[in-house]
């Protein structure tokens, strides 16, 4: 198989396992391209891509933009902050105006869940979801799983622990879908108030005791506490959160194995991860960022090939 089963990348939920494997195999080749003296291929030279970000982003936006440029696509960037969205223009109108300038693909981040799906039904362009509210962040999950595969050889059979603010996290949901499709088992861990009700229905285990859960984990993915999405307080204090769910060298020292440590960024140093751990060789945080470009190149390339 050399084509994805979907025309847009809206979420991991819509992908098959072979779709994910195809992205990985293509990303392997792009990773090799990124190691060349000239890190650019001409594949998307006749494709124009708009990066539309209604929400702040550093890593994802830069990573997509770099991936697009490495593929030789023409790129336009749009941030809602400095645009006519402030004047009351609707999402569909905004995007259709951008598409009128002959744009073929849209990479969009939006604060509402389902925004990418909505857009895919109303505009004529390939849509890549770069994060929609607390719903999905498919490219992050792909690059996380790709980084696990790179370090541990395979994702299947691995036990992955996702820790922190599961309730507000699109990374958690996309990761759960991706990891399960690839045959890993997933446990989520965090304060009860930040674990969505009925999450067990997705086939994940729920752990409230971080230390116990760590004992069984091959991979620990530490999520950021998303203060900006919290309307009220979900735990008594940051200090208490750190004591219960912060990953420190003392906590890791009590284990008889060394789990792989991941973080999708941005890190709140000293909260979910201590600086010592974030900078240690067991943490693959910067590998994740590096792999992000190759994985996004693969996604854009595969979607464009079916255009």
């Amino acid at each position: 198989m050399s084509q994805l089963s979907v025309p847009h990348l809206l979420g991991i939920k819509n992908l098959t396992e072979s779709d994910i494997q195809l992205v990985f195999e293509t990303a392997d080749q792009f990773k090799e391209v990124l190691g060349r003296p000239i890190k650019k291929v001409p594949s998307l030279r006749d494709v124009t891509i708009a990066n539309i970000f209604f929400e702040n982003s550093t890593r994802t936006k830069l990573s997509f933009e770099l991936a697009e440029k490495r593929l030789s696509a023409d790129v336009i960037n749009f941030s809602a902050g400095q645009s006519s969205v402030k004047k009351g223009e609707t999402l569909v109108d905004t995007v259709n105006n951008i598409l009128a300038m002959k744009v073929d693909m849209v990479v969009m981040r939006h604060h509402h869940a389902g925004a990418a799906m909505f857009l895919s039904k109303h505009v004529k362009a390939r849509i890549v979801n770069a994060g929609d509210g607390a719903h999905e962040h498919p490219t992050q999950a792909l690059l996380d799983a790709y980084s696990i595969r790179e370090r541990l050889g395979d994702v299947a059979g691995k036990r992955v622990l996702i820790v922190g603010d599961i309730l507000h996290s699109r990374v958690a949901l996309s990761n759960i879908f991706a990891l399960q499709k690839l045959g890993a088992s997933v446990t989520v861990c965090g304060p009860q108030s930040l674990i969505p009700r009925y999450i067990e229905a997705l086939g994940v285990e729920v752990a409230l005791d971080f230390d116990q859960a760590l004992k069984k984990a091959d991979v620990v993915n530490m999520l950021r506490v998303q203060n900006e999405r919290m309307e009220y307080s979900y735990f008594p204090s940051t200090r208490e959160y750190v004591m219960q769910y912060g990953l420190t060298s003392e906590r890791l020292g009590r284990l008889d194995h060394k789990p792989l440590i991941m973080h999708p960024g941005p890190i709140n140093r000293g909260v979910e991860l201590s600086s010592e751990i974030a900078d240690s060789s067991d943490a693959i945080i910067l590998d994740q960022v590096e792999n992000g470009v190759a994985v996004r190149m693969a996604v854009l390339y595969l979607l464009a090939s079916a255009m």
């Binding site: 392997d28 080749q29 391209v33 001409p42 594949s43 079916a306």
Partner: protein, 181 residues
Amino acid sequence: MSETLLLDSKAIHLLLHRLANQLLEHHLDFSETVLIGLQPRGIFFANRLGKLLIEEYGIKDLSLGYLDITFFRDDFRRSQEPLKANKTKIDFLVENKKVVFIDDVLYTGRSIQSALSAIQSFGRPKAIELLVLIDRRFSRHLPIQPNYRGRQVDAINQERVKVCWKENEGEDAVYILNNTL
């Protein structure tokens, strides 16, 4: 569909030796030369030639790599079925080296054009040559000709040249397949 045997294993064996000798004549000890097999089908041929040069002609330190041209193809988004990318493996410098591209069949010349673009990502070679097992003349779309060829054939467009290698298909042979009959 008819299938005509063009070369059997004995003929391929002779061709491989002749091509190896021609390469030796032009590149001496290969210290300034790198061989690049083009993915996906050129790598079997390149491996075979490389093995011959090392084992029977005593070449030491032969640089042999594989180049995948999928991302450089000029028919991306224009062909029916998108092609899957293969592995590129070039763990040496091509800067100022003589590069010999190795492929099994030269047909329209478009793959070679893509390979000429792709190799530039690895540096500026001193010169680039092309070695093919089968040269389908009169079917070129571009002004590209091989420097070394195993056999020239006049196949019509409806015909397909199929190259089989022992390590992949179980036999060394070249067939011409005709779909029209």
